[in-house]
C-alpha cells in the first residue's frame, strides 16, 4: 500500500492487476492495434482473392468467414476498444480527475476482451468453420443454416457486450462525478462530451445486441422461433432488432472521433473551436436521430410505404447536424494560423473524407435510389469512407496528438508524415473505386465477379495492400517513440488547450490527485 502512490508495480502482474487508468488505456490501445492488424490481415485475404476474377486463393465459404470476421473484429475489436483506450487515458486528465470512477471494474472490462476475441477467433478452427453469415448475421442464415461454432460466437458477443457496457458505465460515472471544481458540463472538452453521449448510446444499445444474440441462441438450441417463420416468428424481426442496435452502433464508432478532431483542429489553427455549443447540440441530435433511422438499412425487405417514407426523411435529417459539425470545423480553420503537423494532417483528411462518406450516405438515404445501391460495393465504399478516414484516421490523429504526453518523447515526425500520406493514398485507392463497381452492379460479399469489375477491383486490392503494409510503419513509429526520442515538453503543441497539457510529459503515473482549479 505504501508504494501505491509512487509508481507502477513491476513485472507482468502490473498489467494483470492494474487499476490505473493510464495502464488500462495503454492496454486497450495495444489490444485494439493487435485486433486492427488481425482484422486487417483478413481484409488482405479478401483483397487478394478479389485481385482478379476467378477463385484463386480461398474457398467461397472461407471467404465468407473472412468478410464476417473482418467486420466483427474491426468494429468490436479495433475501433471500439481504441476509443475506450483513448477515453481511459484522456478523460480523467481532461476533466482533472485522479482516475476513472470505477478502477477495478475498469480492469475487468479490459480483461474480458482478450478472452472474448480468443473465443471468437477459435471458431475459425472449429468443425464447419467460424461465422460465415456477415457481421450483420441475418437470421435464418445465422440460426438454422449456421455452422455449429455459432454458439461460441454468441458467447463471444455477449462478453464483448458486457465489456462495453462496463466501460460505458465507468465513463459516465467518471464524467458526471469526478470533474474538477469549476469544470462545468459546458466547459468540458468536446472529446469528453462526445464520449459521454457515446457511453449513453452504448448502455442503450449493447443490451439490445445481447438480446438479439440471446434470441438466436434460444432459436438454435431451445426450439423457440423468434426468427423462424415456420414457428410463427419472423426473420425480418431480427433485422429490426439488429439495426436498432446497429445504427446507434455506427455513431458509437464516430462520435468520439468528432471529439478528437474538435480538439486537434483548434490546436493547429491556433483559434478557438467555432460554435462549441452548437457542436454539443449537434452531437446530441445525431445520437437522438440514430434511434429512429434503423430501417434505412432495410429498405428492400418490404416495409410499407409509410414506413419507408418515414425512415427516408429521418435519415436525410441526419445530414443537418452532421453538416453543422463539418461547417464548424471549417469555420474554425478559416482565418486561423494553420500548421500541418501529423495530427492536423489526419484531421483535415478526416474532415474531407468523412464528408465524402457523408455525401454517399445522403445518396443512400434516398429510398428509391437505395434500391439500386443497397448491398452493393457502393455501400461498402460508403461505410469504409466513414469508418477508415472517419474513425481510424481520427484515432491516428489522436495518437499522434497525445503520444508525446503518454511517452514523454516526440515521435519521428518525418516518418509519421510518410505514414499519413501512404495511408491517405492507400485508403482512397482502395475505397474510391468501390463506388464505381458498386454503381455498375457488383454486389457486396461475393468472392468472385464478372470481368467488367476487374480493373477497379485490382486497383482496390493494390490500394488495400498499400494501406495494410503502411500500418506496420505506424507500429514502428509508436515503438520507436516509446523507446526514446527527443524529449517532449509538457505542451508540445503551441496552440493546444486543456488540462492534459498542464501535467508534465510523460504524464506521471498519478495525475490530479488534488483537483486543479478550472477557470
Amino acid at each position: 500500500m505504501s508504494d501505491h502512490h509512487h509508481g507502477p508495480a513491476k513485472g507482468l502482474m502490473r498489467w494483470v492487476l492494474t487499476t490505473n487508468h493510464k495502464d488500462i488505456g495503454s492496454m486497450y490501445l495495444w489490444f485494439s492495434f493487435a485486433m486492427f492488424l488481425f482484422g486487417g490481415s483478413m481484409a488482405m485475404v479478401i483483397r487478394a482473392e478479389l485481385f482478379q476474377p476467378g477463385l484463386q486463393l480461398v474457398e467461397p465459404n472461407f471467404f465468407n468467414q473472412m468478410t464476417t470476421m473482418h467486420g466483427l473484429v474491426m468494429v468490436f475489436g479495433a475501433v471500439m476498444p481504441a476509443f475506450v483506450g483513448l477515453a481511459n487515458w484522456m478523460i480523467p486528465m481532461m476533466i482533472g480527475a485522479p482516475d476513472m470512477a470505477l478502477p477495478r471494474m475498469n480492469n475487468w472490462s479490459f480483461w474480458i476482451l482478450p478472452f472474448a476475441f480468443a473465443l471468437m477467433a477459435s471458431t475459425l478452427f472449429m468443425e464447419g468453420g467460424g461465422p460465415n453469415f456477415g457481421w450483420t448475421f441475418y437470421a435464418p442464415l445465422s440460426t438454422d443454416y449456421a455452422p455449429p461454432s455459432t454458439t461460441y460466437f454468441i458467447f463471444a458477443v455477449h462478453m464483448m457486450g458486457v465489456s462495453s457496457i462496463m466501460g460505458a458505465i465507468n465513463v459516465i460515472a467518471t464524467i458526471l462525478n469526478l470533474r474538477a471544481p469549476g469544470m462545468t458540463l459546458m466547459k468540458m472538452p468536446l472529446f469528453v462530451w462526445t464520449w459521454l453521449i457515446t457511453a449513453y448510446l452504448l448502455i442503450a444499445v449493447m443490451p439490445v445486441l445481447a438480446g438479439a444474440v440471446t434470441m438466436m441462441l434460444m432459436d438454435i438450441h431451445f426450439g423457440t422461433s423468434f426468427f423462424n417463420a415456420g414457428g410463427g416468428g419472423d426473420p425480418v424481426l431480427f433485422q429490426h432488432v439488429f439495426w436498432f442496435f446497429g445504427h446507434p452502433e455506427v455513431y458509437i464508432m464516430i462520435l468520439p472521433a468528432f471529439g478528437i478532431v474538435s480538439a486537434i483542429i483548434p490546436a493547429f489553427a491556433r483559434k478557438q473551436l467555432f460554435g462549441y455549443t452548437s457542436m454539443v447540440y449537434a452531437v446530441a441530435s445525431i445520437a437522438f436521430l440514430s434511434f429512429i433511422v434503423w430501417a434505412h438499412h432495410m429498405f428492400t425487405v418490404g416495409i410499407p410505404l409509410v414506413g419507408e417514407v418515414f425512415f427516408m426523411y429521418a435519415t436525410m435529417l441526419i445530414a443537418v447536424p452532421t453538416g453543422v459539425k463539418v461547417f464548424n470545423w471549417i469555420a474554425t480553420m478559416f482565418r486561423g494560423s494553420l500548421t500541418f503537423e501529423t495530427p492536423m494532417l489526419f484531421s483535415i483528411a478526416f474532415v474531407v473524407l468523412f464528408t465524402i462518406g457523408g455525401f454517399s450516405g445522403l445518396m443512400l438515404s434516398i429510398a428509391p435510389a437505395d434500391f439500386q445501391y443497397h448491398d452493393t460495393y457502393f455501400v461498402v465504399a460508403h461505410f469504409h469512407y466513414v469508418l477508415v478516414p472517419g474513425a481510424i484516421f481520427a484515432i491516428f490523429a489522436g495518437v499522434y496528438y497525445w503520444l508525446p504526453k503518454w511517452t514523454g518523447h516526440m515521435y519521428d515526425t518525418a516518418l509519421s508524415k510518410v505514414h499519413f500520406w501512404m495511408s491517405f493514398i492507400g485508403m482512397n485507392l482502395t475505397f474510391f473505386p468501390m463506388h464505381f463497381v458498386g454503381l455498375a452492379g457488383m454486389p457486396r460479399r461475393i468472392p468472385d465477379y464478372n470481368m467488367q469489375f476487374a480493373d477497379f477491383n485490382m486497383l482496390s486490392s493494390i490500394g488495400g495492400f498499400m494501406f495494410g503494409v503502411t500500418q506496420l510503419l505506424f507500429l514502428f513509429i509508436v515503438i520507436k517513440c516509446v523507446k526514446g526520442g527527443e524529449k517532449a515538453e509538457a505542451k508540445p503543441w503551441e496552440g493546444a488547450h486543456g488540462l492534459e497539457w498542464m501535467v508534465p510529459s510523460p504524464a506521471p503515473y498519478h495525475t490530479f490527485t488534488t483537483p486543479p482549479d478550472v477557470k
Binding site: 442464415l141 460554435g275 428492400t300 427516408m312 474531407v352 435510389a369 452492379g441 454486389p443
Partner: protein
Amino acid sequence: MRLQARRLVMLLIGLMASPALWAEWAFNMPKGVTDLSHSIYDLHMTIFWVTVAIGVLVFGVMFWSVIFHRKSRGAKAAEFHESTLVEILWTSIPFAILVVMAIPATKTLIEVYNADDADIDIKVTGYQWKWQYEYLGEEVSFFSNLATSRDEVNNLRPKNTNYLLEVDEPLVVPIDKKIRFLVTGADVIHSWWVPELAVKKDAIPGFINESWAKINEPGIYRGQCAELCGKDHGFMPIVVDARPQAEYEDWLQAKREEAARIRELTQKDWTMEELMVKGEQVYDKVCVACHQANGQGIPPMFPALKGAPVAVNKDMIADHIYVLLYGVKGTAMQAFKEQLSEVDMAAVITYERNAWGNNTGEMVTPKDILDFKKTGKYKGQEGKVPEGGVK
C-alpha cells in the same frame, strides 16, 4: 516542372472524357430500361450533383484556408468563434435542400410501390443457390442455375464476357407489359436484383414481397443475388430476356410443349445406353461441382459416389432415389425433387450406379421414379436416408 504537371492533368482529363474508356469501364448506375429505372437514375444523378455542389463549396472554403491562412504565410489567427446567425443559416439551408430533394424521391417511391393492375405475375423463389420462376396461371415453372463452367471459375479456361452472369434458363418476359414479381425465399434470405430494371427485393422465407417492372426495350438484362445467402451467394445470377409479346407467347408455348414431351418420355421404355448418355449430361450439370467428375467427391464435405454403398448395394437403390429426391438434412446434399424431371433422375441414378467402376448393371427407369414419388417405395423397398449418412 509545372508544365509537366499541367500535361499530366490534361492527360487525366482526356482519359476521363474518352468515350471508349467510359464504355469499357462501367462507372455509374445504369439508366435501365424501364420508366421507373429512369426516374431512379435521375434521382441518383440529381442528388449526386447536389452533393458535388455542396462539396465544391465546403472544400473550396476549406482549401482556401489551408492555402492562405497558414502560419508559414504569416497568417494571424482571428478571434471569432461564435455566430448564432451563421449557425442558423447553415442549419436551415441544408434543411431546405433536403426538403426539395424529398419531393421527387417520395414521388418515385410511391410509383415503385404501385404494383396494381399487373398484366403478368411471376413468382420468384430464391434457393441456395439458384432461382425458381413460376408464371402464375401459365403452368410454366423452372429453375435457373448458373451456367458458367467450374473450369472458368477455377481459371482452367478463359472467362467469357458474361462470366458469372449467365444462366441455363433465363427468365423470359414480354416488353411493354406490367410484370409483377412475387418474391420469396425457400431457405435463407436472398435478394432478387436486376439493375437495368431497378428492381431489388428481398426474398424472405415464409413471406411474399412484390415488385414490378414494365420493360421498354427488348434485350438481355443481367443481375445477381444481393443478399448474403451462404457459400455460393456470388454464384446465383439472374438473367432476364425481354422479348416482344408475340415471341414471348411462342416461347411460353414451346415451354409447355417441352413439358408435355418430358411427360411422354417418362412413359417411354428406356434402354440402359440411353439412360447412361442422358445421365452423364445431368451429372455434369448438377452433380459434378460437389461429387466431381471422377465420382470421388471432396470428402468429408462432399462424399464419394464411387464405391459408395448407396450407389452400389442393390438393397439401397430406394435410398439412392430417396436421397436424390429429398436431399440429406444438415448436409450440402439438396433435394432435387423440384429441379429434375423423372427422366433426369432415373438417368443420373443409373449413371451413378454404373460409372467409375460402379458396374452394378442396375437400371432405374423414369417409371420407377414416378412410382417412388407416389408410394415411397422402389420395388417394395422403402427409401430413407441411409444410416450414418451417405459416407
